[in-house]
Amino acid sequence: MTKQVEKVDRVIIRFAGDSGDGMQLTGDRFTSETAAFGNDLSTLPDFPAEIRAPAGTLPGVSAFQLHFADHDILTPGDAPDVLVAMNPAALKANLKDVPRGGTIIVNTDEFTSRALTKVGYTASPLEDGSLDGYKVHKVALTTQTVKVLEEFDISRKDAERAKNMYSLGLLSWLYHRPTDSTVAFLEKKFAKKPEIAAANVAAFRAGWNYGETTEDFVVSYEIAPAPMPKGTYRNIHGNLALAYGLIAASHASGLPMFLGAYPITPASDILHELSKHKNHGVRTFQAEDEIAGIGAALGASFGGALGVTTTSGPGIALKGETIGLAVSLELPLVICDIQRGGPSTGLPTKTEQSDLFLAMFGRNGEAPVPIVAPRSPADCFDAALEAARIAVTYRTPVFLLSDGYLANGSEPWRIPDVADLPVIAPDFATGPNKVLEDGSEAFWPFLRDPATLARPWAVPGTPGLEHRIGGIEKQDGTGNISYDPANHDLMVRTRAAKVAGIDVPDLEVDDPSGAAKVLVLGWGSTYGPIQAACRRVRREGNQVAHAHLRHLNPFPANLGRILKEYDRVLVPEMNLGQLSMLVRARYLVDAVGYNQVRGLPFKAAELAGVITNLIGTTDAVEGVGV
């Protein structure tokens, strides 16, 4: 049978199954194939908080969504074109997101009456007409896989497990993905169990062949590679990019890195990754708790290392006192908060942007800390470098605010040329910096650089610069303990001025027509959805501007001016309005928030609607005004 080939410009696929079905791995592999093929892509894993929730239940469903295209895309997509559902729970949990007309591939083997009852289906949705509006492919994935693997000397359980590779093979066929990398991957992963490796490869190939042969699939799809700037690319997750950014900062500054961390979702992977790179001089310390993690990092900074701590919201809530100490000591420290749903334990595996206030204000006393936020998975690399640059240059703790969506999402990354990376100069103190009245020389640990207001960083081992620092208020210059009222006021204002004066690039506005009246201001991981929404709005003939903040503290110097250039400012955030509050207070601009705390990124279509509505009101208002 010859099959049709259709060209399409973009596809969104969601793989969904039980926690134990290997959906994350399947998604990762499909992503790798897609990346290697040269499409632009964006991914969104979504898994339960339990390690392995009871099989076949709704809370146990694990999903992975992938959006790929022949052009530059920004989000993992709003609604899947294709849903692969490994069991009834996966179908039930995900069906509502698939638009009518979408494609659904189901593993019919799992649609037993017991499994159906477990999730509350009284009749099989495969039979009762509830899928009438969709293109449904019923495949006996388990049976077919087991059959293919009969020859192999492996257990029935292992054979069944390979069904995810079978489905991957089928999808790979369906979208013309290159298969070499998956075969290589399987051989490497199961290097110690060659029989299992061979079985998985066989299942994968069988899935491909099934697509090629069966009459159930008559069309396959081609998505041309996306035109991207010249360069060498890889696909990268946010947490990996963040870890690499930190290692790059260590190279760029010549400072050995010391990570003090306590495991917590969704930050743990950074600890895992960094602990692999000991030959880069990276020391990783799994502390007894978050306070010890940051304490150890601060101690290492005192000793001349690039001190880093990684955690999520609950961990930041514990580190507040030590961050205050770091502010008072004026030592470099990079604090990574991979935000998740709160408050309290909240939704550990879901994304949210609700720690901005905590980062800005979560310490006793006036304790300003610069804040940097990445906008996409790959951007975590640059943001980490920028956080380290500020920390080292200004001798200050710096927040790097990523989130669960960036952490686990992935996209193609053009690998930077190492020679182009910024240089970070630690500029250690090497000798006295003060001539006393009696003509003798001294080292004053709080005598500042007049340009940056940074204090000197003298590390133990440097002869003649022995000094003591601490969390009690210090005399300007000498750093001796001082309870003097005027000195305290001076020091509080000086620390504030130092942070306020950090050299931050001007904010760029994406306003192609220059005629927009509505500005959408965002920060962090909402970049993709906002930008995608703006493109939609523009495609419909409306004008809208988009500016996205990398620096939340201090704000870029031109932010106030930009805000005043637009009639309306919309601030979409995955919180109840934290940036919008900061902007309102600072610039007295009536920024309106669009807020969701659903543990999921915004949908571009929804946001586009909100923007369009707002554009409507602007016109109305103007109409009245003129």
């Binding site: 030959n279 880069h280 708790d289 990092a297 000591l329």
Partner: protein, 339 residues
């Protein structure tokens, strides 16, 4: 090296006015530490004192080395990061009974099990000094203080027992006023590779005056103080009243008149692999009266230190894989090229 340095006690004093209450035991400890430092043979710039918060934690300001006066209870954690990333330094922690055992208890026990190369001086005055006199985790049960006007309810920690239960490799106890003993214990701790915990009984003459008087007053102290020395029989007492420590059939230790005890007096073995004896010795004093109190080194055994192990892992990796190249790392194994 010691000869080359020619440092004196004075070199370790700073220009900062010492601000403890007149008569505080902290002065004696400071003098002893400043006096001891030159004998270490380590350059001033290679020594760091890290403290928490409390009267005792003001200590670093008075030591002309590098130093950090940090926050309450966190000094062991901060010092762990410093020592683990800079194994070339000599890192000392100064802490109080509240700082180390109340808010900082967890960091302390974890530092001990990790065996980071830290020397921890725990100034135990059995009271919160800086906050003006609340009971501490080492205060005797029933203690009347500002926060316990009807007497405290909880059994105190025995810092030596706690440390031994936490896998400590070095644990010692000494007394602020006995400079010679204090110095000898500092010496032993400095020579130890790994975490050394030294509990120093320190008099707070304002809020808990005389807490250790029995162990200090030369007219009675010999009746209450057991001086542990490795390889020596464990005895104490004065004149006619001399006792030896023996093990009873029920396995506990007891003080027995020397005459009666004869050969059965235990010989101290600070280097025993297992901490059984050290632990049993730590249980001798009555928690309320502190009699009889062993001082000296309870336990001192070798176990690889955390910082060395960590450095070894880095060296190993560099040896096996070569020193890390950033471009290789960033490129990884799964790339594609455009243009």
């Amino acid at each position: 090296m010691p000869e080359l340095l020619k440092l004196t006690t004075k070199d370790f004093k700073t220009d900062q006015e010492v601000r403890w209450c007149p008569g505080c035991g902290d002065y004696a400890i400071l003098a002893a530490v400043q006096g001891f430092m030159p004998s270490l043979g380590i350059k001033r710039e290679d020594i760091v004192f890290v403290s928490g918060i409390g009267c005792s934690s003001r200590f670093p300001y008075y030591m002309n080395t590098y130093g950090m006066h940090s926050i309450h209870g966190r000094a062991p954690a901060i010092a762990t990061g410093l020592a683990a990333s800079r194994p070339d330094l000599s890192v000392w922690v100064v802490t109080g009974d509240g700082d180390a055992l109340s808010i900082g208890g967890n960091h302390l026990i974890h530092a001990l099990r990790r065996n980071v190369n830290l020397k921890i001086l725990l100034f135990n005055n059995r009271i919160y000094g800086l906050t003006k006199g609340q009971y501490s985790p080492t205060s005797e049960q029933g203690k009347i203080t500002k926060s316990t006007p009807y007497g405290s309810l909880d059994a105190p920690f025995n810092p030596v027992s706690l440390a031994l239960g936490a896998e400590a490799t070095f644990v010692a106890r000494t007394i602020d006023s006995d400079r010679k003993h204090l110095t000898s214990v500092l010496q032993a701790a400095a020579e130890h590779e790994g975490t050394a915990l030294i509990e120093i009984y320190q008099n707070c003459n304002i809020f808990n005056d005389g807490a250790f008087e029995k162990l200090k007053d030369s007219s009675v102290r010999d009746r209450h103080l057991i001086r542990l020395e490795h390889g020596q029989p464990i005895t104490f007492g004065a004149g006619e009243d001399r006792y030896g420590i023996v093990r009873m059939p029920d396995a506990t230790l007891k003080a027995m008149p020397l005459a009666e005890a004869g050969d059965s007096v235990l010989v101290h073995d600070a280097h025993a692999d297992e901490p059984d004896l050290a632990f049993a010795l730590s249980r001798l004093p009555d928690p309320a009266t502190l009699s009889p109190t062993p001082i000296g080194v309870f336990r001192s055994v070798r176990r690889p230190t955390y910082d060395t192990l960590m450095s070894d892992q880095l060296d190993d990796a560099a040896r096996r894989l070569g020193s890390g190249k950033l471009d290789e790392l960033l490129t990884g194994s799964d790339t594609w090229t455009i243009g």
